[in-house]
């Protein structure tokens, strides 16, 4: 792979570190997506992609930061912004989506779903099935 010519000057330790993070990041992401495609219910599937958005992203961000910092011999930290934004924005998506699913399940009277908790019945209520 001559495309990696620019990495000639990279010390081996850095290469190893970068590779580690890369493998961890991409591996976690893959696992997450596998989970996403294999888990049986939506509420379970919703957990899977967070592997990618948490340490999946984190790993690759780390790899990138280390790689460019070592290569450019100056701190390159802008990738961290990606990490921050992904972390902050993913919950928004997930919350909204999960809540939408919840609404639909309740509207359809799906018995597996927890109904909204009313003050008089503080814990687990029956499914909103009417």
């Amino acid at each position: 792979m001559n495309i990696m010519d620019h990495a000639v000057d990279l010390p081996v330790w850095a290469a190893l570190l970068v590779s580690f993070f890369l493998v961890v990041g991409s591996g976690l992401t893959l696992i997450g997506t596998i989970g996403f495609s294999r888990l049986p219910s939506f509420y379970e599937r919703i957990h899977a992609p967070t592997l990618g958005t948490s340490w999946g992203t984190g790993g690759i961000v780390m790899a990138s930061m280390i790689f460019f910092t070592v290569l450019a011999t100056r701190p390159v930290i802008h990738e961290i912004l990606i990490g921050i934004f992904v972390t902050v924005t993913t919950p928004v998506t997930l919350m909204l989506l999960a809540r939408a699913a919840l609404h639909r399940d309740r509207a359809e009277g799906n018995p597996d779903v927890l109904a909204e908790v009313s003050p008089d019945e503080p814990k687990r209520g029956p499914a909103l099935g009417e």
């Binding site: 970068v18 591996g27 495609s37 939506f42 992609p49 990618g52 992203t57 934004f85 998506t93």
Partner: protein, 93 residues
């Protein structure tokens, strides 16, 4: 040496992410429900973003960084709109 190590790990990473994207795309078309598809799209976005970052490492250029940042920062807007549409049947009320 570092080249080889990196080449291997980068290839591994790209393959993993590509598979991940493929799985997400499958889920996108399979559903079964709209929220699965939307979540799949979001996942596809994130995976693409990671793929682009890996691509950046592979080319040694940080000019591709903005594309990743755009996905990271703005990608959720489309998903939010989709989710809101599912929940409320209307994006902006």
């Amino acid at each position: 040496m570092s080249q080889t190590i990196l080449a291997v790990s980068l290839t591994f990473a790209q393959v993993c992410l590509a598979i991940a994207m493929a799985l997400a795309a499958l889920r996108m078309s399979r559903g079964p429900r709209a929220q699965d598809r939307v979540l799949a799209l979001d996942t596809l976005y994130v995976n693409s973003m990671l793929l682009l970052m890996v691509f950046g490492i592979r080319t040694g250029k940080d000019i591709y960084f903005e594309a990743s940042l755009v996905i990271g920062m703005l990608g959720f807007v489309a998903t939010v709109a989709l989710a809101k549409f599912l929940m409320r049947g209307e994006v902006i009320e």
